[in-house]
């Protein structure tokens, strides 16, 4: 990484509002107003400031670039951090790509005297994201130190988050503060930017923070960002480039629950995609264990094990997720990240039978054939079925009979002893799936782990 390390910062200032108010999320202006009426105060800005402080304490030479007002600038001030401001282009649809420029960064990425930036506001037109993508979600505690007034942040939307990400696309690493909804907005913008998108890292500040792209705490986000600044995308010092592994970048899943049904007591989560994030680096004193090219914890090792178990003529149903996507890569097939795909091996080698199938298509493809469902564990809650893979309905599961469950040891370790969860919508099926299953954790490595019906467990 040449020159000074430049970190970008985007804050979804309404993130976390709904949590303390017991609203299970903060999507939508109505919910935010209700939260404020119940006494909540915005906290995301303060959490972002915490991350910035941790980043600059560890790596003082970092250049910080952010956007005006509560979407970043206020947090930079609160952290006492020198920063440059970038004005946001008109939101979302109004952005026209600059001729020849990547990803429509119709903005100038130049230092702006802080005083000028007082114009604040996020240049927002205030359009409320339909699903409330500004995805406010939430963190600890209601009003308190670091809280800012509601009227300072009201009206920021998903479109503002996306516009801010686009505006900051030139940074080395983009930090964003929010929850799963914010992560979805960042993902949308990153997709628009394509190859021009920087790696990102979430500062947890939402009610729902189930996505893997978040650090465990604001301070941890700052520290991880600093380490990334130090070691760069190859995960080690510039003197020896060319290796990924310890540190570096990794793909992390973005998942989100739909808040409306969630409030009604129903959980319906989806996997939206993956973001490139810095990988937590093994620290010095933890190095009693070495790591190999197929160390436990790598999706590649898991994928190789799955492929080694595949038999000709059997149909394999690959569920969504980064780990099952690695199986597709190992087979050399263009499987989808988010969809359910069906593959086969046989005489002419691996074959993609069908990609991104619906429940009905899937049922037809597996009925009357020997079939195995290959599932990975989605997000931090340990869901195996019923989150992002509803295509695997009870009747499909009855037809496939065999499951191959995939998870890294780290993912299981993060469950803290809680079981994997099945929520197919049919209690009998969930119960039948319950019990101990073999979970593939690497090449020639597995564990035995408990699966439970989701409605019998407290999440």
């Amino acid at each position: 990484m040449s020159g000074a390390f430049t970190a970008g910062l985007v804050v979804n200032p309404v993130a976390g509002l709904g949590g303390p108010a017991g609203l299970k999320g903060s999507d939508g202006d109505d919910v935010q107003r209700e939260a404020v009426a119940r006494g909540a105060a915005p906290r995301a800005g303060a959490r972002a400031a915490e991350a910035v402080r941790a980043l600059l304490a560890r790596r003082p030479g970092t250049r910080l670039v952010t956007v005006p007002g509560p979407m970043g600038e206020h947090s930079a001030w609160a952290a006492g951090a020198d920063h440059d401001l970038v004005f946001i282009a008109p939101p979302a649809d109004a952005v026209r790509p600059a001729p020849g420029g990547a990803g429509g960064a119709a903005v100038r990425l130049a230092p702006v005297p802080a005083a000028i930036a007082e114009v604040g506001g996020a240049g927002a037109d205030g359009g409320t994201g339909a699903d409330g993508g500004a995805g406010a979600d939430g963190g600890a505690g209601a009003a308190g130190a670091g809280a800012v007034a509601w009227d300072e942040v009201a009206g920021t939307t998903a479109a503002d988050t996306r516009a801010a990400v686009r505006a900051l696309s030139g940074v080395d690493l983009l930090l964003f503060a929010g929850g799963d909804g914010t992560a979805r907005d960042v993902l949308d913008a990153v997709r628009e930017l394509g190859d021009a998108a920087p790696p990102v890292l979430g500062i947890p500040a939402g009610v729902k923070v189930y996505s893997g792209c978040f650090a465990v705490s604001p301070a941890a986000a700052g520290l991880l960002a600093a380490e990334y600044g130090e070691y760069g995308e190859y995960g080690e010092r510039a003197a020896s480039p060319g290796r990924r592994g310890a540190g570096g970048l990794t793909e992390a899943e973005v998942v989100d629950l739909d808040e409306e049904p969630y409030r009604a007591g129903l959980v319906s989560a989806r996997l939206y995609g993956t973001l490139r994030v810095p990988a937590a680096r093994e620290r010095l004193s933890g190095r009693k264990t070495g790591s190999g090219t197929l160390a436990p914890g790598t999706a590649e090792g898991i994928a190789r094990e799955v492929v080694s178990r595949m038999r000709p003529g059997v149909r394999y149903v690959l569920g969504p997720g980064a780990t099952t996507a690695a199986v597709g890569r190992e087979l050399g097939l263009p499987t989808t990240l988010l969809g359910v795909d069906v593959v086969e091996t046989g005489g002419e080698g691996p074959r993609l039978v069908a990609a991104d199938v619906s429940e009905r298509e899937l049922f037809e493809l597996v009925t009357g054939r020997e079939a195995v469902a290959v599932l990975s564990v989605i997000g931090g809650q340990g869901f195996l079925l019923g989150r992002g893979n509803q295509q695997l309905s009870p009747r499909v599961l009855r037809a496939v009979r065999h499951l191959l469950v995939l998870a890294t040891q780290q993912k299981l370790a993060a469950l803290g002893g809680r079981p994997l969860l099945a929520d197919t919508g049919e209690e009998d099926t969930d119960r039948r799936l319950g019990g101990h299953v073999q979970v593939i954790t690497g090449y020639r490595e597995s564990t035995i782990y408990r699966v439970a019906a989701a409605n019998e467990e407290h999440i």
Binding site: G286, A413, R450
Partner: protein, 520 residues
């Protein structure tokens, strides 16, 4: 302090502060090969009176050995300086390297070990009867301690002995026509070398996670065992310091499907003379003499090992083993031996040290070692749990070590366990976290063996309490540690990179100094 009276100023020697003001020495000491000067000698051998006998052509070197040429003083000074740039077991309160059982290695035993230093491993048996007797007697003692029928002292310890175990397991099943058994079961808190060695030997490894009580999940074991099960390889107590009270059921479940049960006695220091591997039904086990039996660790592991087996596995033991016909000691290789795990008979100096250590303690002394280690551990646990932010998951009594957690402190301050360990080094003590992955969040593992005094344990706890308090007051200060060490942070990535690692000077010269860029 108050017992010293009120006026310290009057004392001829000022009292020491409650926490040691340690500072690591920095000598910038080069590698010994860089200190070599052609022609320097440790001993100037006088010229022979008679003309030297011509050596036969076949045994003459073409080039002199590439050894450093130095005087005795320079060699001594070199190693003393290196020792000061270290935090060795004889220097620090070494309770922080949990699972490694750091204990005092009595210096008197070195004199016995030196006595065998001049033996050659290929000497005829008749000329080394004394050493073979020590091998024989130590083997019988370890058989008694484990309940096994025979023990081989041939392997090294740690992974070498574990590899011997899996090699015996494989040979046993093969001899019975059951070579199809290709799965080995272990647990997440067993020593990870069990999984690693089984995998190296070609087995598929199934690792059991702990249940909600911190025990390996027995229901998971029930689901794991089957016709493909070759063995269970398990540590007990596990690296959490929790003893699995259902260990016999574990063994029976594995026996029930025709598998073998193998006990890694890495954590035997708290159960010496209290429980025995064979009494729980195990078929084989190994000890690390560098842990439980006080011999030096030898750079983090490969010291002397001891593999014990039940009668049905005796033919497969690594060899040679020592035999005794009532009059004469000899060497024999068991009928279907898995062979040598390392060269020659074993690590003889450490066999002698372990033998001397056991003889000095006697059977009652060994049990007292375990009881003292358990007492020390529970005393230290009490002290550690007084520190705000420290916890020990599962709320259970522990045997000889505890895997603690700084989760609460880390959440509050953003300071991680590794950073606390680096800061602890500023006070001259070593500290280790845990194997990966971290099941216990923000882990640290302390194992105070019988060697440490109450004052030692209090001092160690006081250091951690002080660092935790610093983390609350000024987290960035702790994150900036170390301050009293001479090396700030090292980049460990070379350890994983065959192009850069260099276990010998010759490899270092080839990879880094020759400029040829050749790969290794």
């Amino acid at each position: 302090m108050s017992s010293h009276g009120e006026s310290f100023a009057d004392l001829p020697v000022a009292p020491k502060p409650p926490l040691r003001r340690f500072h690591q020495a920095r000598w910038d000491e080069p590698i010994i090969f860089e200190l070599s000067h052609p022609g320097r000698r440790g001993v100037a051998v006088p010229a022979p009176d008679a003309p030297p006998v011509e050596l036969p052509e076949g045994v003459r070197r073409e080039n002199p050995p590439a050894l450093p040429e130095m005087s005795q003083l320079h060699v001594l000074r070199h190693y003393l300086r290196l020792s000061q740039e270290n935090l060795g077991v004889d220097l620090n309160i070494d309770v922080g390297q949990g699972t490694c059982t750091m204990k005092y290695s009595p210096k008197v035993n070195d004199t016995f070990a030196n006595a065998v230093a001049e033996l050659h491993p290929l000497q005829h048996e008749d000329t080394v009867q004394g050493v073979l007797e020590i091998y024989w007697r130590l083997e019988r003692m370890l058989a008694e301690i484990s309940g096994m029928s025979r023990v081989s002292l041939q392997p090294g310890s740690g992974s070498a002995a574990i590899y011997a175990n899996i090699a015996m397991i494989r040979a046993y099943h093969a001899a019975r026509g059951e070579g199809h058994r290709d799965q080995v079961i272990t647990t997440m808190f067993s020593h990870p070398s069990n999984a690693a060695c089984a995998k190296t030997a070609g087995y598929e490894v199934i690792t059991l996670m702990p249940d909600a009580d911190g025990y390996p999940d027995i229901e998971a074991l029930r689901a794991a065992v089957g016709p493909r099960t070759a063995a269970l390889m398990i540590t007990n107590p596990e690296d959490t310091g929790i003893f699995n009270p259902r260990i016999r059921e574990f063994v029976e479940l594995v026996h029930g499907v025709g598998g073998l049960a193998c006990y890694d006695q890495a954590n035997a220091n708290g159960i010496l003379g209290i429980t025995r591997a064979r009494d729980a039904g195990f078929d084989l086990c190994h000890f690390n003499l560098h842990k439980t039996f006080s011999t030096p660790h030898a750079c983090g592991g490969p010291a002397a090992g001891a593999c014990g087996v039940a009668p049905e596995l005796e033919p497969f033991l690594p060899g040679p083993v020592v035999s005794f016909d009532g009059e004469r000691y000899g060497l024999e290789t068991p009928e279907r031996s898995v062979g040598k795990i390392r060269p020659f008979l074993g690590v003889t100096p450490n066999i002698v040290r372990a033998y001397a250590w056991i003889m000095a303690l006697g059977a009652e002394g060994l049990r007292e070692v375990a009881e003292t280690a358990v007492l020390n551990n529970n005393y230290l646990m009490h002290q550690i749990l007084q520190i705000p932010g420290a916890s020990a998951p599962w709320d259970k009594r522990r045997v000889e070590q505890v895997r603690y957690s700084w989760r609460e402190l880390a959440e509050e301050t953003g300071v991680h366990s590794e950073e606390i360990g680096v800061r602890a080094a500023d006070f001259g003590v070593h500290y280790w976290t845990s194997h990966h992955p971290y099941l216990v969040p923000e882990p640290f593992t302390l194992e105070p063996t019988e060697s440490y005094s109450r004052e030692d344990l209090d001092e160690y706890a006081a250091i951690l309490a002080h660092v935790a308090e610093e983390a609350r007051r000024d987290p960035e200060f702790v994150k900036g540690a170390p301050y009293n060490q001479t090396i700030h942070k090292i980049d460990p990535t070379a350890l994983d990179d065959p192009k850069r690692w260099a276990p010998t000077w010759r490899a270092y010269v080839r990879k880094h100094l020759s400029g040829s860029g050749s790969e290794g």
